[in-house]
Symmetry: C2
Subunit: 458 residues, 2 copies
């Protein structure tokens, strides 16, 4: 009963907020492999990366020794609009499960972009503005990242060009309109506005587009237009650095009440949320100061960590971006169209891939009907309607809590609730109507992806 | 600069949270008029009301003398899941407007129902559960209230039957699916499940329904089913009582920093948000302890306070509910279908109507394109995507702040930001595409509504 003193929601005061990001690479003995130039297969230089990304972000991308990097004041100011995010004690869920486990979740959905993506969007927009750029380009699928970037660019009065996969542009008009509310120009991809778009339209008339194609258009638009750079919402080292704010806030809130987690769980697509959440805890683990079980949860239909290969691969299906060493299903891998739960990226952040390969974290995969069951159960007792992506972590948190019920162990479980599901009701509808199927790719299904891996002697 | 010490967001600690609701009627010298039985035209008795509403809620509805009513512990526990809501200092908006005014807003949108409606839904569900009922029925238009009630019923394991206007059920499937996620049964209205529904379907085959019809069906379903009662999300005295939590939290937060507002602004449909926000401030005004300008903002297309009559009228267009003395356009008034901004109710809470008639508050009306301009301006600097309803208050807050810019006055403005606009993107899309029209009804347009007023000698 003593721990009833812990409030439902722990909010940090403004004075308690982190003022520096934490760069987990600084504490890794085995550093993640560098990005390679796809032409020369040599590590990308700062100069080469500077054609695509802002200078300061290139620095962050390549810096694997500085542990703490100051968060610029302007970004701290913007954070005040929607941060700190609450660390919530899931009292109601614990009671419903009748488990001795103590469950906490860090909720990143209380902002208009609806997810943690805003944490990196604002940082990338800030550095673009500081460099005197006119604007940035990016791609978006369902629109979560595009929305976050639109908000960030609107704040810094920066032009924002979003290439949105055409099928989403047409079938998911709501996120498109949110982006337009924030002043972004949203172009359905493939489009006539880029050479690569025109080529694809000529070769595949009537195509509804793909994320890979949208990336290629966004990169071309950035590199061919004076005063523009390209920005990406996941996978990159710089993104995990910005997202470390999630884990840092979590750790301060837990420390404040003397709580030590046993298990930390996060969903993993490209790795931005998981990497951000676990960074400071992983740091302690790397330095030998503490030990935690850290679990990455991915969809069974897109199992990059649990069934992928640790290899150099293209970051995009259009093969215009540098090569990264990561757990990957191959850039040619296409997730089943009936997969409704997001987290469709073929690869995984190089940092997380390395940590996983070194045995410092676990990974598991879950099927989508079980994910939506957990989502609904969570919504009904905790009030928040979770995004399908986030619900992967809920699934495993519930599973771990139920194991505690069997063993009687009072473990402390912390998971990342990355966002809300307001724009995912089509998936929920499928689930309610019993129209949702599970899909686990066979080894045969995975073969074309693996065959698409580039030959790199590394 | 001194006031920079005031944080962006003021959150109350759990120990600072109000433990009692405030009943503004207790301090009103001129009490609001009682509900009348539409048959006898006599004041409704507790017994009569008990057929429709829970006993405890009937008590609250009729009690105009008790100033403070304890919030049951169970409701306080639920509040912890999403309250306190933040009181936000709109530093970014102030800067953008370059105004000396200080702007604060109380943001009620950080819960899955997306609005303040949850404050009363949880109270009404609690009393239904306490009375040992099986469930409750209600109607919903676009679905905000229905969603809130579904969440509340799910928490107390109570059956929830929602009659949803058929056109919304079909065209706005997302809110319907949110309600289903929380276990509610959602029936398109008119339906075959009630006598009144069958009658309407026979007389008007192919009708897409109306809120009035949905109310009639919900009331019939409640009164004809053992163990059920009907609940309503606005207008009633009990709802304003529950919503006083908004104003009480606001006042505690302001007092904590020694802030005294000059102007308090809220949007007004049935009056639940405005009534809740202003109650404690109005109490001070009624007791002669302080003075505030209090402004109700309504859409020019549905101007019950600014152009309605202060008269007894039916609360529903189906004319099955008691009569209330209120500012009304007549239950036969139908707002223009091109009105996208919500707040379509023909009448106004009896409490607010009385206060307005006694000159204790002001009212003004605004046109919808101006409302969406304010919404977009607000979203771009403050981050939050506001509901169209809430944006009525934003419009007038900005207008008042701009007056301060002209006069140089450093007024403190507080407004209610009732909710988020995630499910209103169709309206935003119309606005972005320049397809939104303003509509101000002519006196001729208002005539059928006024002609529908019942003849009551009071």
């Amino acid at each position: 009963m003593e721990d009833k003193k812990i409030p439902y929601k722990i909010y940090l005061e403004e004075g308690e907020m982190p003022k520096q990001w934490y760069n987990v690479r600084a504490d890794m003995k085995n550093k993640p492999e560098p990005l390679l130039n796809p032409g020369t297969l040599q590590p990308m230089t700062a100069e080469e990366l500077g054609h695509v990304f802002c200078d300061e972000l290139v620095k962050q991308e390549l810096d694997d020794t500085t542990a703490y990097i100051d968060i610029p004041e302007e970004i701290q100011s913007f954070y005040k609009m929607y941060r700190p995010s609450p660390l919530v004690r899931a009292y109601c869920l614990e009671q419903k499960l009748d488990t001795p486990a103590k469950i906490y979740y860090k909720f990143e959905g209380n902002n208009t972009s609806g997810s943690h993506k805003l944490n990196s969007a604002i940082a990338q927009a800030y550095y673009a503005k500081k460099q005197g750029l006119k604007g940035v380009t990016t791609e978006t699928g369902a629109g979560q990242w595009g929305t976050a970037l639109s908000m960030a660019c609107s704040y810094f009065d920066l032009d924002c060009k979003v290439y949105m996969v055409k099928v989403s542009y047409e079938q998911k008009p709501f996120r498109r309109e949110v982006m337009r509310t924030y002043g972004a120009s949203v172009t359905p991809s493939p489009s006539e506005t880029t050479a690569v778009g025109r080529k694809i339209l000529q070769e595949h008339p009537g195509t509804t587009g793909s994320l890979g194609c949208a990336i290629s258009e966004a990169v071309e638009a950035a590199t061919s237009t004076e005063g523009y750079r390209y920005v990406l919402g996941s996978v990159l080292n710089q993104v995990l650095l910005h997202q470390s704010i999630i884990g840092l806030e979590t750790k301060i809130a837990l420390d404040k009440y003397g709580i030590k987690p046993d298990i930390i769980i996060g969903c993993a697509g490209g790795g931005s949320n998981l990497g951000g959440l676990v960074s400071p805890f992983m740091g302690e683990k790397l330095r030998g100061e503490a030990d935690y079980r850290i679990i990455a949860v991915e969809p069974a239909s897109c199992p990059s960590l649990t069934r992928g290969k640790f290899a150099y691969d293209f970051c995009d299906t259009g093969k215009v971006c540098p090569l990264a060493k990561m757990y990957t299903l191959g850039s040619g891998f296409i997730p089943s169209p009936n997969h409704a739960g997001g987290l469709r990226y073929h690869g995984m952040s190089s940092i997380l891939s390395k940590l996983y390969d070194d045995g410092l974290m676990e990974a598991c995969s879950v099927e989508q009907t079980a994910v939506f069951e957990a989502a609904e159960q969570f919504a009904r007792v905790e009030g928040i309607l979770p995004a399908p992506e986030s619900s992967h972590a809920i699934r495993v948190a519930i599973d771990e809590a139920m194991k505690c019920k069997q063993t009687g162990e009072e473990k402390t479980i912390v998971f990342g609730l990355t966002g809300t599901g307001y724009f995912d009701m089509v998936a929920y509808e499928k689930f309610h109507n019993g129209e949702m199927n599970d899909y686990i790719p066979t080894d045969e299904d995975l073969k074309p992806g693996f065959d698409s891996l580039p030959k790199v002697d590394k």
